[in-house]
Symmetry: C2
Subunit: 209 residues, 2 copies
Amino acid sequence: MSNTSKSERARPYAGESRATREAARRERLIAAAISVFGTTGYRDATVGGVCEVAGLNKRYFYESFATLEDLLCAVYEVVVADLRRAVLAAEGNDPVTVVRGFIDGFLRWVQDNPVESRVHLFEVLGVSARVDELYRGHARSVGDELCDRLVPTIPGLEPTPGQRRFVGDALVGAGIQIAVDWVLSEQQPPREELLAELDGVLGSLLQLL
Amino acid sequence: MSNTSKSERARPYAGESRATREAARRERLIAAAISVFGTTGYRDATVGGVCEVAGLNKRYFYESFATLEDLLCAVYEVVVADLRRAVLAAEGNDPVTVVRGFIDGFLRWVQDNPVESRVHLFEVLGVSARVDELYRGHARSVGDELCDRLVPTIPGLEPTPGQRRFVGDALVGAGIQIAVDWVLSEQQPPREELLAELDGVLGSLLQLL
DNA sequence: GCAAACTGGTACGGCTTCGTACCAGAAAGG
DNA sequence: CCTTTCTGGTACGAAGCCGTACCAGTTTGC
């Protein structure tokens, strides 16, 4: 019996190689899944539903993913990379600017990406140990990066790794909670007002120094 | 047709009135659900599964709840009441004590209640708009209470409602993130060490003042 | 006792999703 | 062309859960 595996007699189709077509389908599935998970919600999502939105046969789902959870993980990687870019975009040489830039970037991203933000703020949570692990890794990574930017702005500070983890978690956790609260609020104050409140808090903190 | 509704010809059974029996069954369902949601997870939970653990016929589920989500809400109210007691147990007249007591109470509760904490930290998230609303309400409430205790310990501070909300969210969010990170790292390091790190951070903050 | 209410166990139809298979038509290659 | 691969649409069995109904045995009120 000769090798009859799928990749054996691969041919171009519509001018694209097999690998290119597979990758394109994978991207379409991920894009469709972001839409479905971010609107209907992951809990009510089905393989068939995602494929319908993607305009692909169910067969092609299993070509790229084994389970819906695998697709969720791929979706999350895309979403979190985008968020990471947003919250770490700002530069700053003093603590207030760093923290303010982080929160501002977060709220901006949530506002500009309502679907993706629902995926990140709600849908990926509590799905499975594996997804939780992913989530924790990225949260820690962003927290570490924030610490890296924050610590040098405060001379004479040499936190232990454990303290850095504490500060990173606290910053990320605070940002998430503020974002979640903002999203779930019935009447959302404009982002600018929220940031003005933040400035007030940070100002009071500085005044105490 | 005479009234044949269930409550019409109610009789005591095993010495208990109908209302008492119904309430007892409800409690058993809630207790079973905490166990199921906190171990198997809400996502994989079924009505039949919860009833089996509770040792009750499925019929009695629908006697007290219309959907599994209703039961989750009831479960959450029980769990959050317990957590609330834990995180607000400590007294304190200075900011460091208040914050430390909050974090300490949170971690203690997580450590002593692994099942309930999984429900609160993971399972209730991203279920539905209704559950999210519940979650947000309790988080805000705890944040407000923390603010109420924190603000008087810092003389000359009169935060606006918006600023109070900011601080409350930040505290609660930081606490949750720290707890989640701790749980996902299998509670390493031990709670005492983690609190020592917190003391270090708070100490550095004070030193800056 | 005896009828009526209650309990716990089992059973069943209906529904939804999964994962795969089949089929007809388009595109590629010799 | 004519065969082979690829695509998209439809179909189908298997499985799990829902919500309800039925049934046998117990407890209660009269």
